[in-house]
């Protein structure tokens, strides 16, 4: 075996890192360390590639990168929570459009903050519908959210009547266009949401219940936990984050289009899966999902800089999804 010494070297490095991780963050981290290692490697590789372009490490581009991943970052967080319950939410793209158009359209009439709230509440409500039907009637989440995806999209077109709603300047300045120094407000919002969701999933009873439900719903029910309520909560959270993404997107683009958001569910699922999520429950977390979002965003950004066609980006994304799942399986 020619490569045995290098393999051993690698194993030793991994063993050392995982032991350190175990010391710092406890047993769970030690277990999951393997999941993050390949992601870290991947991000580093992309950054090396990025250094080939002068345009990459400019404040303008980095700030752009973060603004671009805001939408997928927020949706992915919601998607993560749903996937952890062994569910899926296909309606996120429609919620993005719905919330965006409500917030943008209503700002003139009822003021900025109420309009944004209406947008968020609309997202949560779609989540309530998803969650209730999934939890109460035990229908497959795929089917339920496919239905709400269609219905919500239809509702958006009915409401908007015209193909696009220009947004109020105040609305635009507030979220999508705003900056704190060089940092876009939207990016700050997204980045803060990740630790919040991490806290929710790891430190609250509801979060732990949601994680456990994805692993074995019946065991959780028999432990005396109200499973339906937690599934409902998961879809509400997903609706909320999708709504938030929709509001911010409409604000950034300056117009709210009823057609926006098609295919967003796929990017979100991809980010969760790349970050260690398992469709069907039993795996995934906020840290990994952030990595997934970052990797997808970096690829888009980089290929844009090199002026590669979008279609190639999609092909590459496909490969990365498969690669990341394979890489994890080898570690296990």
């Amino acid at each position: 075996m020619p490569s045995s010494s290098s393999v051993r070297q690698e194993t030793r490095v991994r063993a050392f890192l995982s032991a350190q991780a175990g010391r710092w963050f406890g047993e769970e981290a030690r277990r999951r360390w393997a999941d993050y290692i390949y992601m870290a490697v991947f991000v580093v590789l992309v950054l090396i590639a990025a250094s080939a372009s002068d345009a990459f490490f400019t404040p303008r581009n980095i700030s752009n990168l973060f603004r671009q991943i805001v939408t997928n970052g927020l949706i992915s967080l919601g998607m993560l929570v749903v996937i952890l319950t062994a569910g899926i939410d296909l309606s996120v793209g429609s919620i993005v459009a719905l919330s965006g158009i409500l917030a943008a359209g209503l700002t003139d009439q009822i003021g900025l903050v109420p309009a944004i709230l209406v947008g968020l509440v609309a997202g949560v409500l779609v989540g309530v519908v998803n969650g209730l039907v999934v939890a109460r009637f035990k229908l497959a989440p795929f089917i339920v959210t496919l239905a709400t995806m269609s219905a919500a999209r239809g509702a958006v077109y009915v409401y908007s009547e015209i193909p696009q709603v220009p947004s109020n300047p105040a609305f635009r300045a507030a979220l999508g266009g705003g900056f704190i120094g060089p940092v876009p407000v939207a990016a700050v919002i997204m980045v803060t949401c990740f630790p919040l969701v991490w806290l929710f999933l790891n430190r609250t009873t509801a979060g732990r219940a949601i994680v456990a439900i994805g692993g074995n719903e019946e065991a959780v029910r028999l432990a005396g936990i109200n499973v339906g309520r937690h599934i409902l909560l998961a879809y509400m959270i997903c609706g909320f984050f999708s709504g938030l993404a929709g509001v911010i997107l409409a604000s950034r683009l300056g117009i709210a289009q009823p057609s926006v958001g098609g295919g967003y569910e796929l990017d979100a699922i991809a980010a969760v899966v790349i970050g260690g999520g398992i469709l069907g429950g039993g795996g995934g977390g906020a840290v990994g999902t952030f990595g997934g979002v970052l990797i997808l965003g970096l690829i888009d950004n980089l290929l844009n800089l090199f002026a590669v066609q979008t279609y190639y980006q999609q092909i590459l994304k496909g490969f990365i999804i498969v690669f990341s799942v394979l890489a994890r399986r080898k570690e296990g």
Partner: protein
């Protein structure tokens, strides 16, 4: 038999990621014998037979059949040599019918090659079932609708259908009722006469002694020895398996049962059991014996609120409780350890910590946030008390042995401070040493005043544990025995409907 051994496995070694599952095992057996393989969990029994069945590849060693080395790199190779196995995990396709499952890979076709000849297929499947004495299974039923024990019989039928030379049965009895087990033993005897070698793995030693000619003991991946079953006593065998003599298997009972804590009155559930009444006292271990399908599991689930009863009342500490969900039952102080921990007792993708705290999260949280320090302290104390190994609360339950997994479930209910603990087959799939530990834990719990309903289909443990024993048959309570009255014969006769 000695030199006539036609199967020889020599110097077999196998390791998984650094742990040695088998170390230079020399195992041999003869055609026409029933050869049992016993040992504690993790002794390497399953690994050994999986290597023989081509399901696992060995690291070293060779396998001779009739003196000639054979290639067993895939299950297909093994199958061609006449080696078939019934593994612990089912290999049936749930939504296909019994017929398709039994004849998988050899469905009869009509004149056109790609056209399944259904009448012929069903006839053949029925014939196979008939031949081996497993009647009462409709071959048109999808396997998913069969009970676990019937699924197991289909699995066995599938293996036997091809008349194997070597038949491997890995824990076949775990899910079978007493009656079905008898039929399996009859089948084994027929096969033996027809010159088949049967390798029989089981945890239940009484079974092993009943059916096996020779018994091989494995311990920690090494072969301890092979003995003739007629010349050996159970105690000797246990000593070989454990490497030491066990203390008392069953706990001594120190306390007298106190006042009544649980009373079930006229409880019925349509289709599973009817008019069941009994009472359970504080500190009492009440055995509930019944064959598979007698309704005991449904009864347990109804008391726990996991399924709704159609009529009847449940009183806890003198008050009627209406538990519409397990949530109500847990709040009232009832706990249920289910018969299949992986199906509905554990979240194996989660760490020990989450599993142990699952039923009591609210007690260690404030405003919905878990107090990790308090949580871990509680979990650790239970891990220590029950001696769960390895004692790491962050470890995934999936990586624990069966016995330790069962202790995790027990720990969960200990934390909940239940007043009534329903244990449905608490020692299923658990090795001998852990079984004894679990018996003593249960004894301690009873001494602390918890009322325990102990459900089992293993007579020895019902007899060894219970202060009082109930017998269920076909959905009815048909007998109640005091400790003095209960014997294997009386309970079994009662459970199977034989008039005494």
């Amino acid at each position: 038999m000695g030199n006539l051994d036609s199967l020889q496995m020599l110097g077999i070694s196998k390791s998984y990621d650094g742990t040695q599952a088998l170390r230079e095992v020399d195992f041999s057996a003869a055609i026409g014998e029933v050869h049992a393989i016993v040992g504690e969990n993790g002794a390497g029994k399953t690994t050994l037979v999986k290597i023989l069945a081509g399901a696992l590849e060995r690291d070293a060693g060779k396998i001779l059949l009739d003196g000639k080395p054979v290639d067993l790199s895939t299950p297909l190779h093994a199958r061609r040599l006449g080696i078939r196995a019934v593994h612990q995990e089912f290999s049936l396709v749930p939504h296909l019918t019994v017929t398709e499952n039994i004849l998988m890979g050899q469905m009869p076709t009509a004149r056109l090659k790609w056209w399944v000849d259904w009448p012929e297929a069903r006839r053949r499947a029925e014939e196979i079932l008939q031949e081996i004495g497993f009647t009462g299974i409709n071959v048109r039923t999808p396997v998913s609708r069969l009970s676990v024990s019937h699924q197991q019989m289909v699995e066995i039928a599938k293996a036997v259908a091809e008349r194997p030379r070597i038949l491997i049965l890995d824990e076949p009895s775990a899910v079978l009722s007493q009656e079905e087990l008898k039929r399996l033993f009859a089948l084994i005897r027929t096969l033996k006469v027809e010159s088949t070698l049967i390798l029989y793995i089981s945890h239940r030693l009484d079974e092993v002694f009943e059916v096996a000619d020779r018994i091989t003991v494995l311990k920690d991946g090494e072969l301890v020895g092979t003995v003739h079953s007629q010349e050996t006593k159970q105690g000797q065998l246990i000593k070989m398996m454990v490497g030491r003599t066990l203390g008392e298997i069953y706990p001594g009972r120190h306390t007298q049962p106190g006042e009544e804590i649980l009373s079930v009155r006229g409880l019925s559930q349509e289709g599973s059991f009817a008019d069941v009444s009994f009472s359970l006292a504080r500190g009492e271990i009440l055995g509930l014996f019944g064959l598979v399908g007698s309704g005991r599991t449904q009864l347990a689930r109804c008391i726990f609120g996991a399924e709704p009863p159609t009529s009847g009342e449940i009183h806890l500490e003198g008050k009627v409780i209406r538990s519409k969900s397990p949530r109500d039952a847990v709040k009232a102080g009832i706990a249920l350890l289910t018969e299949d921990r992986k199906r509905d007792g554990l979240v194996i993708s989660c760490p020990v910590r989450d599993n142990v705290i699952l039923a009591t999260m609210e007690q260690v949280s404030r405003w919905g946030f878990l107090d990790r320090r308090q949580q871990d302290a509680q979990v650790r104390s239970k891990v220590q008390e029950l001696d769960i190994r390895p004692p790491q609360v962050g470890r995934l339950v999936r990586t624990l042995s069966g016995g330790n997994q069962q202790k995790v479930v027990l720990a969960k209910w200990l934390l909940s401070q239940a007043k009534v603990l329903i244990l449905d087959e608490p020692t299923r799939g658990v090795d001998v040493a852990t079984k004894v530990e679990i018996y003593h834990i249960i004894g301690d719990l009873a001494d602390r005043g918890i009322g325990i309903l102990f459900i089992s289909s293993e007579l020895p443990e019902i007899l060894g544990m219970s202060d009082r024993a109930l017998v269920m048959r076909e959905g009815h309570l048909v007998g109640e025995f005091t400790r003095a009255e209960a014997s294997e014969e009386s309970l079994l006769a009662c459970a199977s409907g034989v008039i005494q």
